[in-house]
Structures are given as C-alpha cells and as structure tokens.
Amino acid sequence: MITMSMLLASLSMALGVVMLLSLYRVVRGPTIFDRLTGLGLIGSKTIVLLIVLGSWSEQVGLYVDIALSYGLLSFVGTLVLAKYFEVSSGAAGGPE
C-alpha cells in the first residue's frame, strides 16, 4: 500500500535527479542558449519541487507563495538573459 506521503517523498527525490540531469546540459552546453535552456528547465522543476515538499510537510500554504514568486522571477530572468545574449553575441541581422 503506497500512501500519499511516500509518493510525495519519492517524487521529490526523483525531481532532484531530473534537475541534476538538466544541470549536465548547463555545464556542458555547446552554446550559451543550451545553458539557458537547462536553466529554464531547472527553474520550472524548482516550482514543482517547492509545492511537493510543502505538501509533504503539511505546510503547503506557506510554500505556494514562494513557488509563485520564484516562478515570476525565473520567467523574467529567462526573458532578460535571452534578450541580452541575442544582442551581445553578434546578431546576424543586426540590432532590430
């Protein structure tokens, strides 16, 4: 019999393993955009991991606000970094 607590604990460990797999692409990415892709993947896993851990420790009302604000910051960070490296890595068509 698998209880919900066991499922949440094993899911949080499995999400950690998936984040480590994405970290390989951040370290070994050939271009800078590969690194940004792995970073975005780790960011969206972090949102789920926060809510899973909060729901495992019965304090999910505390963690869901942190997850929401982390999601906002990660999204804006990805957009700004994409725009920055689009300009600074020598655009083919020139700047806009």
């Binding site: 998936v18 271009t31 955009f33 969206s44 899973v52 929401l68 957009l79 994409a82 655009a91 083919a92």
Partner: protein, 101 residues
Amino acid sequence: MTVVSGAMLVLGFGFVFAGAIGILRLPDFYCRLHAMGKCDTLGVALMLGGLAVHEGLSLTSFKMLFVLLFVSLANPTATHALGRAAVRAGVVPWRSDKGQS
C-alpha cells in the same frame, strides 16, 4: 480522489522525465528546445494539477491553479524567446550528413 491525484502526479513526472532525457540526448539546440517546450509544460501542469486535487477546495489549491495558469503561459513564451534569440544570434540548425543512417 487520492487515486486521481497520484495518477496525475506520476503521469506528469513521466512527461518531465521524458523532457530531461530529450534535453540530454537530442543532437541540436533547436531539438532540445522542442523537448523543453512541450514535455516540460505538460508535465509541470499535470503535476501541479495533481497537487491541487490532493489539496482539496481551498484558497491554497486556488493559488496552485494560478501557478499552473502562469506556468502554462510563461513556459512557451520563454521557449519562444530563447528560440528567436538563437536564430538572431546565428545558431545554425543541425542537419544529417549521411542522408540514410
């Protein structure tokens, strides 16, 4: 209700894991972006939906559904911004040299 929530969690983790395998194994930046854009959005949305079902009807589950809505809007937008930035920075797509493998 627990069965529905657990099934959504496990199914969502399957999609997330497929996305991670894709981002490790695919040969090109654009192929990896393809793996990130769809598998990751669907997997995260399914896992957040399963957690909201597990929580029941309250303000917390409403906040979880808002996180779900935000992720399903923001993740394709970030993927599109990354792809457009890579095209404008001159990353060439991968082509198969041999034709038949």
